[in-house]
Symmetry: C2
């Protein structure tokens, strides 16, 4: 039974709430912002957290914030690298359903996620997906990749699209519309190789390579975001103005757009690492409490997909 | 006498108004949106337009829109390429102070601007600068280059920064703070060459190469846009959170950010081509009437700098 697409973060929270929430292993949990976010999500019935780190320090921090840890499982592992390995292993062994990064360097955390022995590899690249509400707040939109893949070559872009389409399906978007972004709307070689990648991704989409979805590109960002521009420009694309997924050519674009949405449009974003065998939640210190909650909700929902 | 920095588009309009406005040559003016924007700017006392194109067609279109051309000079040149050359030549010969693109392909228009015989070359690359109001609308911010230079190498980036600093000075920003954007805040080689360019531009700024300004980089977009993030991240930069100029690494980033500001943040942007001997106004069909007015005001102001 598909619940139909989720249109807002509010609907995302509702859909992710559960009477038996998924178990979330938190690697290196001894940081107040992490404890706050994870227990907030627990009270919202999004996840059952398992805190891995220095238990003493976790208890002291929780105490200072007057947060109860009664329903939280604690596992002692003061070293962040060891804590990351343990957290990932819990998911690998089926004792947790998703994993969240705490006070550990992203590099070390991702290394644990990808380790060959008990990591969450799936024979596919991992990528970051940011989720935000569309300009008119009528639907959720996905932005990828703004965090992991620096300058992905074509084969990697294929996996990035596949990962995002999978997440869109988990969000109830039956046939996501994928806009592959460039600075222009036509293939320009040799000056703009991103436009050729976009054209090729479009063809692969047409050939059914990504399953149920509609891929179009190259599209400039206005065409992806704005239905009226799409009309004026006369691109005649089913994706233009109605994109569910925005695929950027490299990390500089993704990162800058993500942060423009956050700090200039003043919008919340949720984020998730996808492409592994389980959802991986990575929040940033500067994320708002709402953003962190939405990110965990996204992971929780994805863990059930 | 410097009027101090302009903080908003409203202040920009006020500063650009004049009792003897600069003369703006409009290349291939026979398009209703162009006629509308230029005569609107004329009524606002920003410019005195000179329309170059098919005079019959210009008159008919103005008639349909009930716009008076009494104070507009008309020059017959039905061919858009010829009209562009004529418009540029007027600036070259000192009979106009700035030039605006009408219904002519950007490529052909820019070719006219850059022609060797009577073009507006200045021994320096041209670049596009977008102007928008800061997140809290407390100041004008510049974004460059989102329209001309595709993947500028370092020497070109130097000219892009110089062009933007010059425009910032014309806007009354005595010592503009320049944020050179990357996806991260440290130099990462060989994976992220944009970070090295940013570091080198910072050093050139320190050495006084760009005149009065403060250059910092690499900075991620949140650090450029948001003072609180800058504090949390502890970058300790005078530019972080207070950037006047945002320099992006390549056109994909600039273009996508520009359009995210426009279509997701719902903000107006003004745009200008700089680096020539006179300001070059290029508006897009999908720009709002306000944006077009601000762009012309920017050109008018720059023509007096």
């Amino acid at each position: 039974m598909s619940p139909g697409p989720l249109h807002t973060f509010g609907e995302l929270l509702t859909a992710a709430r559960s009477d038996s929430p998924p178990r979330m292993a938190v690697a290196a949990a001894a940081e107040s912002a992490v404890i706050d976010a994870a227990t907030h999500a627990m009270r919202e019935r999004l996840v059952r957290p398992i805190f891995i780190g220095s238990c003493d320090r976790i208890r002291r921090l929780a105490d200072e914030m007057q947060i109860s840890l009664d329903d939280v499982e604690l596992i002692e592992a003061p070293d962040p690298v060891v804590a990351s390995a343990l957290a990932v292993r819990l998911v690998y062994e089926g004792q947790a359903d998703l994993v969240m990064k705490g006070l550990v360097r992203t590099k070390n955390f991702v290394r644990a996620v990808l380790n060959h022995e008990f990591g969450l590899r799936r024979g596919r690249a991992m990528s970051h997906v940011g989720v935000f509400e569309s300009p008119d707040r009528s639907r959720l939109m996905l932005l990828t990749d703004s965090g992991i893949n620096i300058r992905p070559r074509f084969s990697r872009k294929v996996e990035i699209v596949r990962n995002a389409v999978e997440l869109a399906h988990a969000l109830g978007i039956a046939e996501p519309k994928v806009a592959v972004i460039a600075a222009v709307e036509t293939v320009e070689l040799p000056t703009m190789p991103a436009t050729l990648d976009a054209e090729l991704l479009r063809r692969m989409g047409q050939a059914g390579h990504f399953g149920p979805c509609i891929v179009d590109g190259p599209l400039a960002m206005d065409n992806a975001l704005d239905a009226r521009t799409a009309e004026v420009k006369g691109r005649g694309s089913p994706v233009a103005g109605h994109a569910d997924i925005i695929v950027v050519p490299e990390i500089e674009t993704g990162n800058a757009v993500y942060k423009t949405i956050r700090y200039l449009a003043g919008r919340d974003l949720a984020g998730l690492l996808v492409g592994a065998t389980g959802p991986v939640v990575v929040t940033s210190r500067s994320d708002s409490p709402e953003s962190k909650l939405y990110s965990i909700a996204l992971g929780a929902l994805m863990s059930r997909a």
